[in-house]
Subunit: 364 residues, 2 copies
């Protein structure tokens, strides 16, 4: 079987796949309500929040668009803090819907600098909201969200965070850090297939929502919340993904949140050590900020990372992913989130070690 | 097992449910591309179109929002023709995103009158696009889309049609009728779970899209088309639903489109005859326009339809659905689309016949 080591969709445990063989049910009936209520409660424990958590049918990007259109009005001043493709995408969405976006950008592999964020906020008192990325999937960088969030909240701004590839895998205490909207997707650390975006909404976020004028119907948080009060979703949800998530969340509860975080830290460390041992370099500059869910790697000089991945896939059934944006064709990335263990990582590293010589590089 | 007789989600064949136990794959890889290309080609045969067909992760309402934001600019004059909740929803979406909407509305159970549409178009030459519903799921009325479409196209207007509960079940020749955008959802006649909206886009629609200024990123047809050229979707798709649809479409091809339409006609006829035999009345006024996918029924005087449904569900495991909008608490509805046969309909009718006396009505 394939060793799918991309940062989402992640492999699902057999029990989770099996859960999807359950027949369809009425999404306005009692059985669905009980399931949605249970999923929502379990999500809250992993979000470490008492805020509302809403399940929307869509991808992580759909969740990001939902966050923007529910929080902002055209013309609102927004600070975007980006260190990669997903940070840039967040800013693009805000801009598309008419926000007045100021961008603070950091080069690929560089972590977002809290001092620069502080400075940008001091420079323009009219900024209403800040868009942050917890874990930048395109470069394997985890921002110091606790510190960044404190700066944003101390400045009294609304804080909207892309936690798509961190929540559930990396410690991300939504309430403690004061994240007003935190977004994730079912196909990341949650060990479920893609199809649902999950977002938490704080009291301050609900206040902002009440004033927000960007157009929305499908993503409307008010409709989602009103329906959730009846154990429903406003529109027909991706039922199989809800079945899957309902099972995977129970598996996650059983493993325990701290154990899950520790496992991700261990596997990430193993991945980094493995590639460095072969003489390869990480994309992240300061390893202190290396992500525990995705590791981005520079290939050896002269090696085409996409050809290298092809060898790994064709010969060893190990599937990595490539670079995005300016890093397309330049790097390769390991996903080590969700269902993943030492055996998976060792297999992926072995495949890399065996494939490199075919591309003219002999690993140390 | 439950006899799920609601107009979506519809029950899935065992092979379709089983298809979802397949492990996740890279949605940027060759295997996914081959599947998406195959699904897209099969959809085109059932849409009876050479237009582009795009698969979007979302519900049918998501597909409707996608159609609006991709075709229109704020301020555009739009004619909405509605005979129920879904027609009204389409107008609401257009209005929310800034279209200047004129509504032609028909009472619950009444079909949209082509003459009224013609008149409305003659009255205002500035109308750019017309929103129609092929099959109004809330009342069980199928509009004469062929005639309506001819009027709209003869007037040179863009034609955007909610075919959510008709396409794949009722004859809906997209190209012959000149539908510029036709929208459906995986959980209707397609025998797959909810999670994907499928939309066709004509040449004229692409021209309108190029000029359309409503904000969009997640639903952007240009991104969807560019990605489809690589056998991909712009955002991580609901992979299990794609697995399911890939299998259900092959089952549909095997049954044959005309056979599927004939089966739906037969089962709808059986449902209508069955309820009328019991002395109950259909919501549709002129049975010529009765839907072949959903039948809406008035309960006998004094019978609460929601309590009646509860008896049918609790005692006989037959799940019907209730009314929506102004018909909430007033009617009940049978879904007979997708995976459905005579046995299912007979079971549902038997349960109705046995349940009515408990609510004080003795069927004829």
């Amino acid at each position: 079987m394939e060793n799918l080591r991309i940062p989402g969709p992640t492999p699902c445990p057999p029990e989770v796949l099996q859960a999807m063989t359950k027949q369809m049910i009425n999404h306005r009936g009692a059985e669905f309500s009980a399931m949605l209520n249970s999923v929502t409660a379990e999500l809250k424990t992993f979000f470490q929040t008492k805020n509302d958590v809403l399940c929307l049918t869509g991808s992580g990007t759909g969740g990001m668009e939902a966050a923007i259109v529910n929080m902002l009005s055209p013309g609102d001043k927004v600070l975007s803090v980006s260190c990669g493709v997903f940070g840039d995408r967040f800013a693009d969405i805000a801009r598309m819907f008419g926000a007045d976006v100021t961008s603070v950008k950091f080069d690929q592999g560089i972590v977002c600098d809290p001092a620069a964020v502080k400075q940008a906020l001091q420079k323009d008192a009219k900024i209403k909201a800040v868009l942050l990325t917890h874990n930048e999937t395109s470069t394997g960088v985890t921002n110091d969200l606790g510190t960044l969030a404190k700066i944003v909240k101390d400045a009294g701004k609304l804080l909207i965070v892309d936690c798509v590839s961190s929540l559930g895998s990396i410690d991300c205490p939504v309430d403690k850090w004061g994240l007003d909207v935190a977004i994730t997707g079912s196909q990341k650390g949650w060990m479920a297939p893609p199809g649902l975006a999950m977002v938490s909404v704080s009291e301050a976020a609900w206040k902002a929502h009440a004033a927000a004028k960007m157009p929305k119907i499908y993503w409307d948080f008010t409709r989602a919340k009103k329906n959730l009060e009846k154990g429903q979703t406003p529109w027909t949800p991706a039922i199989p993904v809800a079945y899957a998530l309902n099972v995977s969340l129970k598996m996650m509860q059983k493993e325990g949140m701290q154990n899950i975080f520790a496992r991700h830290a261990r596997l990430a460390d193993m991945t980094r050590k493995g590639v460095k041992t072969m003489g390869l370099k990480l994309v992240v500059h300061d390893e202190k900020y290396a992500s525990n869910t995705v590791t981005a790697v520079w290939p050896p000089e002269g090696v085409n990372p996409d050809n290298l991945r092809k060898t790994m896939r064709d010969k060893y059934q190990v599937v990595l992913t490539g670079g995005q944006g300016v890093l397309e064709g330049k790097i390769f990335r390991f996903g080590h989130l969700g269902m993943c263990d030492e055996h998976d990582i060792q297999g992926a590293l072995d495949a890399l070690r065996k494939s490199l010589p075919e591309h003219g590089y002999n690993p140390k």
